[in-house]
Structures are given as C-alpha cells and as structure tokens.
Symmetry: C2
Subunit: 76 residues, 2 copies
C-alpha cells in the first residue's frame, strides 16, 4: 500500500515562500495570481496492513509541525 502525506502551512500562518512564488509568477507572465502556499508532499511505500493509526501519529509528531502546519493523509 502507498500513503501520500501532504503537509501545508496553516492558512493563518505567513508563508513567505508562497508569497515569493506568487510575486515571481506575476513577473513571469501569469498575472493576477492570488495566494500561493508551498508545502511538502511525501510518498510512502508501506507493507499491506500497516497501522493507519500509527501513520497518523507519525504524520502529526514527525512529518509535520502541528503548530504551524496541517497534514492530509491519503491511502492509495
């Protein structure tokens, strides 16, 4: 089985990298770009039957910083 974890900065948190990307896209010929947020995407190959609960625990405690980031876990 495969898990895809997407970690994004919380909406309330300033994302300077996203702001820089938005500004650059404007300069590079795609005008009127709104908010941009830059996060991480992590693809994990897991053995069948791996504990989803443990996976959520690791997403929260290890793969993301819950103070400033939210994560989404998708099992494929």
């Amino acid at each position: 089985m495969k898990a895809v974890v997407t970690v994004m900065p919380k909406k309330s948190v300033l994302d300077p990298q996203g702001a820089a990307v938005a500004q650059a896209m404007d300069h590079l010929g795609l005008p009127h770009v709104g908010k941009v947020r830059v996060g991480r995407s992590i693809e994990i190959e897991l053995p069948e039957g791996a504990s989803e609960e443990k996976l959520h625990e690791l997403c929260r405690d290890f793969l993301s910083n819950p103070v400033i980031e939210d994560y989404e876990l998708e099992i494929r």
Copy 2:
C-alpha cells in the same frame, strides 16, 4: 480556480531526505517502510480563465527542475 502542483524527485534520482524519513519511521515504530520520496506541494489561487499552457510552462521552468524532478498539475 485553484491549481495544485506536486513536484517530486524522479524515480531514478537519489532522494536522501526520503531515505532519512524511511529510516526514522522504522525507528519510530512503523517497521518495514519501503521507499519514501519527499517533494513539494504548491497550491495556487488563479483568476478564472488563466492560461493552462502558461501554467505548465511555469511548472516546468520555474516550479520544478526538470533534470531531477517531475511535476503533476491538477486544476480544481
């Protein structure tokens, strides 16, 4: 409209960050983790009717490094 760009290291490229995550997950109680790859996820708010072609161009030339990374563009 909203675009989500996922940029991942190519399968043929060594991903030391992914290898470190896999090893750490093993130590943290999720054994037998296979390959892990760490990439970026970029959410972009766009005006309606923004050029998808231009967006692909920026994904290729600006948001990713096509030598070592692949991107996926999803319009929502």
